[in-house]
Subunit: 197 residues, 2 copies
């Protein structure tokens, strides 16, 4: 890999948690300079604009985040086991996020809402992909006879994702995992009593 | 009321939606000047710092928000009717928030997380108050024999609040109320089948 590419990747890697912690407007160039150990010019050698750094940092954060969730359930054999593994993944997430600062999906959903239209499109795609992934797992569970055929896979996925995302924020605001524990346990009940046959 | 006090309140009223839309770091002084029609000096006649405007705008937003939710359920007679009214209040919230820009609680929870410690304390208190309010309604429902005595009022309140808050963000990112509809209907099921006797 060329040295320039290595530097660029190192900037993204260090910028992602800064944006996730301070927000896109809140993360100043000097915060990025401090985190990367580079001068302004050194950073802008690799990116056209601050928005360019933001967009690439978001992609890096989401890739890392998706990989962590995927690793949590990839070895599970059944749809129900996969759903339980995904939900359990979040049990300690609020205080131990994949990217420092919380969940890059919900942080960016709020942060980009009225300010960064290009990022807003991307976060919507990421949420949509997660809803589709969960829906596919639920649909395969219905086909395998593990999950009730009356379950609406899309609706169940929306409920699981919104509850987990809300749980991360509420739990982080209390600076503990206690609210997340409650939410995760209730979602496991939901999987066991409302989805499982 | 003195003229100075009126101007101050008008600034807060106009600043609150700007902060809720753009975030606390994202809302520049020039955005506040444009919204209020005042010069920088005219604004700082009434506030010591930008953080001072932020803190008072948050209190204004929360007061307005709390009043709107309270009005949605205050005339209901039973605990279950109150819970249903609260949940239903959010059905169209994503596209018609009390304060332009979404829910000031979750927006501020994320925005203040690593940046505004004094505001972080306040948002935690606001969430705690909401959990306590819902818990009190559920406990009175248990006492009145409407709600199962096996229900943990705190846990049920956490689940309802996290799901609603997550729902607002996910639904806003899709720019429609569809995900919120799903979430609200599932919470009504939860109230009818898990909480009600």
């Amino acid at each position: 890999m060329r040295k320039g590419q290595l530097t660029k990747e190192s900037i993204i890697e260090k910028a992602a948690p800064i944006f996730n912690k301070l927000g896109y407007a809140g993360a100043s160039m000097s915060a990025l300079m401090q985190a990367t150990g580079l001068q302004k010019g050194g950073i802008y050698n690799h990116f056209k604009t601050k928005e360019d750094i933001i967009l690439q940092s978001f992609e890096y954060a989401i890739k890392k985040y998706n990989r962590a969730v995927f690793n949590a359930y990839r070895n599970e054999k059944t749809a129900l086991a996969k759903l339980r593994a995904i939900v359990n993944f979040y049990r300690t997430y609020p205080l131990n996020p994949v990217i420092e600062g919380g969940c890059p999906i919900i942080n960016t959903a709020i942060d980009a809402d009225n300010t960064l239209p290009q990022l807003k499109v991307r976060v919507k795609e990421v949420i949509n992909t997660w809803i589709r992934n969960l829906s596919d797992i639920i649909k395969s569970g219905i086909l395998q006879g593990e999950i009730k055929s009356s379950v609406n896979a899309h609706d169940a996925s929306v409920v699981i994702i919104t509850t987990l995302q809300g749980g991360i924020v509420i739990s982080r605001s209390f600076e503990d995992n206690a609210s997340m524990e409650i939410v995760v346990n209730k979602l496991l009940d939901y999987i066991n009593f409302n989805l499982a046959k």
